[in-house]
């Protein structure tokens, strides 16, 4: 059937052009597919992508069909889909808390917990934390005696809802005419089911997930020619600068493009152009005022230090400078469902919005292009740019997906096919959400909490006892759950006395005497060493594990904690 369709298409006048488009789609899919996919799956996916393109082409030819229009105006269905999307979004975000307890999300939770504690104790954001604007909304909730994790997680889920709402607003701001509502609903639907967005939530990028809804809002307001776009964009950039960079670059390119058009057409710039320049300047002034010179100086130094590229950092810093998020190949794998739609959207962006590209809507493809460059090369925060890029992919994929739905929703068989596709998408995302493990399991957290010193007297942990983690994965957890006491962690906090070479010796050497020498650098203090489930499952330091399990200076305190005592001891130590 597919080949027959291809054959009939090729026999028409514009066959060469269509053939080229198909080739482009195939090439686009082949380039974007990650290498980890097997050749057979690659072919299957290519067929799926070609089928989608063929279906959307057919839908476009039959765009005047009244029945299709009728289906697209069945608002009850779209309202139902919107409610489902928001419900799925909320459920997928809170299911981790139900399954894994109070701290199921990523590494950064512990850092934010520490910031929250400092802010509420000092009643001042101070110089230790930075980014005053981001954390200022913690004050009211902190004063209600809510726990740090409750406040941080509630706001984090709230920001996800706001992002969905802002995306809805942005899509409604595009000139989609009578299809505006259904297309916006589809955009929110893809967002709710996007695995990349779930991953961004799981990694606990609090500042970025706060900035993104405001960026989307600013773009929406800009498209609607609303002056509120200026303060909103300035605010978003002040919250998280690297998220706002694609918008900033796109805005500059947009201004230059307008100027070039004026030069080519040999006419003076219109009032609109002057307005945009003034608006841009005001936005920058607001950003500088809110961000503060120190923070801007920090970003500039970071940029100059690595000359803009994360690959210029030291080998162990590269991932951190890239932004500690999933790699581009995994990102593409997660986006497989809507990737073909996005590719078609890129090719047919102009046709789908059903109107001549107004000057301002040109901003969307420019932002997309800028983001594509930022995620394709190893720039600073390359991985983090993927989060905003995913939203842009969703925006671009939305109109083709709508056409696809419109085409198939006309008859029963088509509706069944759509239902299956939707079910597959929901099931796939649900499976990923369900299988996502926490970084710290509830039992590990409980073990760490035992070491927290509640008062001045503690039977278990003395005031001068240290906590140690041998993997930086557990750094913030161990520090926070044990009550922010002296904690030895690789490369962070003030209590670490070892350099990288010493840590290497401790991790990988087969010389246990040297390990004891290194531990003696901490003097006559007991050290509680935490080794988490992720370390135990993927052991890359077998000598260290053998050392801790067999050396007589160590006693097993709990399933994941060993106690190191400088002097050899008897076996009467308390254990849990």
């Amino acid at each position: 059937m597919l080949f027959y369709a291809l054959y009939t298409r090729l026999s028409r006048k514009s066959s060469i052009f269509i053939f080229l488009i198909y080739l482009l789609i195939i090439a686009g899919i082949a380039i974007t597919l990650p290498n980890t996919i097997s050749p057979i799956n690659r072919v299957i996916f290519l067929l799926y992508a070609i089928f989608i393109f063929w279906a959307i082409r057919s839908a476009h030819i039959e765009t005047t069909n009244e029945q299709a229009d009728l289906q697209s105006h069945n608002t009850l269905v779209w309202k139902g889909l919107l409610i489902f999307s928001f419900l799925f979004l909320i459920l997928s975000r809170i299911v981790m808390f139900v399954r894994f307890g109070e701290a199921p999300l990523g590494y950064d939770t512990g850092f934010y917990w520490q910031y929250f504690r400092l802010i509420i104790i000092n009643r001042d954001i101070g110089t230790a934390v930075g980014s005053h604007l981001t954390y200022s909304s913690w004050f009211p909730l902190g004063f209600f005696n809510l726990h740090a994790l409750t406040v941080i997680h509630l706001l984090h889920v709230f920001h996800q809802l706001l992002t969905a709402g802002a995306l809805y607003f942005l899509l409604r701001s595009l000139p989609l005419r009578k299809y505006s509502f259904p297309m916006s609903v589809i955009g929110v639907f893809i967002f709710a089911l996007s695995i990349n967005q779930f991953m961004a939530f799981w990694w606990m990028f609090y500042k970025q997930t706060l900035a993104i809804p405001f960026l989307l809002l600013a773009i929406g307001l800009f498209l609607r020619r609303n002056p509120f776009a200026i303060p909103v964009a300035g605010f978003a950039a002040a919250i998280h600068l690297s998220s706002a960079i694609p918008l900033g670059i796109a805005f500059v390119i947009f201004i230059i493009a307008q100027l070039i058009i004026c030069l080519i057409k040999r006419r003076l710039p219109e009032r609109e152009f002057t307005y945009l320049i003034v608006a841009g300047l005001l936005g920058v002034i607001l950003f500088v005022a809110l961000k503060g010179i120190d923070d801007i100086h920090y970003y500039l130094n970071l940029f100059l230090k690595y000359k803009g590229f994360a690959t210029n950092a030291r080998s162990w810093e590269v991932e951190q400078i890239r932004g500690l998020f999933i790699p581009f190949s995994t990102f593409r794998l997660n986006a497989l469902f809507y990737l073909p739609f996005a590719l078609i959207g890129i090719l047919q962006f102009r046709r789908f919005i059903e109107t001549r590209l107004t000057e301002r809507t040109l901003l969307i493809p420019i932002i997309f292009g800028a983001s594509l460059i930022l995620v394709s090369f190893p720039f600073i925060h390359q991985s983090r740019s993927l989060i905003f890029f995913d939203i842009l992919l969703i925006i671009i994929a939305t109109p083709p997906l709508f056409r696809f739905i419109q085409h198939f929703a006309r008859d029963r068989n088509g509706a069944i096919l759509l239902g299956l596709l939707c079910l597959g998408f929901v099931t796939f995302t649900s499976r990923v959400v369900w299988n996502q493990p926490p970084q710290l399991y509830a039992d590990e957290a409980a073990e760490l909490k035992v070491l927290k010193r509640e008062g001045t007297d503690s039977d278990i942990r003395k005031i001068d006892d240290y906590i140690m983690v041998t993997s930086s994965l557990y750094t913030p957890w161990a520090y926070a759950f044990t009550g922010f006491g002296p904690t030895i962690v690789p490369g962070w906090l003030t209590w670490d006395k070892w350099d990288l070479d010493m840590w290497h010796e401790f991790w990988f050497s087969d010389d246990n005497a040297r390990r004891l020498e290194l531990l003696q650098l901490y003097g006559n203090h007991n050290i509680y060493i935490f080794i988490g489930n992720h370390q135990l499952k993927n052991i890359n330091t077998p000598h260290l594990k053998d050392f801790i399990e067999t050396d007589s200076h160590f006693t097993r305190f709990s399933p994941h904690i060993w106690k190191y005592t400088p002097q050899l001891q008897d076996s009467t130590q308390p254990t849990i």
Binding site: R123, D124, L133, T134, S136, P140, F143, G165, F181
Partner: protein
């Protein structure tokens, strides 16, 4: 003039939301804090933005857009308000927070009322003038 049934429905929805919030927070907080937080949340995260969009986005927004825009603008105002106070005081107290939130809400309410021409300076002056005029005429 607003439809009375609309007012009843809206009030009922708000009452349900507040009771729901209170019951939710009661699990974690003492009674006083729980009720304060439940009552305070709309002032923190909804009302200022709602008043702003009533003034500046009169047309072209559907209900979903209006709700989310209200929350986004409220959050932005909250962040910027507390940020401004924090930068100046360097030691935030509960009174500072309460005052900041109150000022944000009152300012937005004033803008809204001014927009509805109930508190505009010109209208106030004209009312005052007409009252004075009437009083002058009443005096023998």
């Amino acid at each position: 003039m607003m439809n009375p049934s609309y007012i009843k429905k809206t009030s009922a929805v708000w009452a349900l939301i507040l009771i729901g919030l209170f019951l939710l927070f009661k699990n974690w907080l003492p009674f006083r804090e729980a009720i304060l937080l439940a009552m305070g949340l709309p002032f923190l995260y909804f009302l200022p933005g709602f008043l702003i969009i009533k003034v500046f986005f009169r047309a072209g927004l559907d209900q979903i857009e209006a709700i989310f825009l209200a929350m986004l603008f409220s959050l932005m105002l909250l962040h910027m308000g507390i940020y401004t106070v924090e930068e100046n005081t360097r030691m935030m107290t509960i009174a500072d927070i309460a005052l900041t939130v109150a000022v944000i809400n009152i300012l937005c309410a004033l803008i809204y009322l001014a927009h509805r021409k109930q508190l505009s300076p010109a209208r106030l002056l004209s009312r005052l003038r007409s009252k004075l005029h009437k009083r002058d005429h009443k005096q023998p």
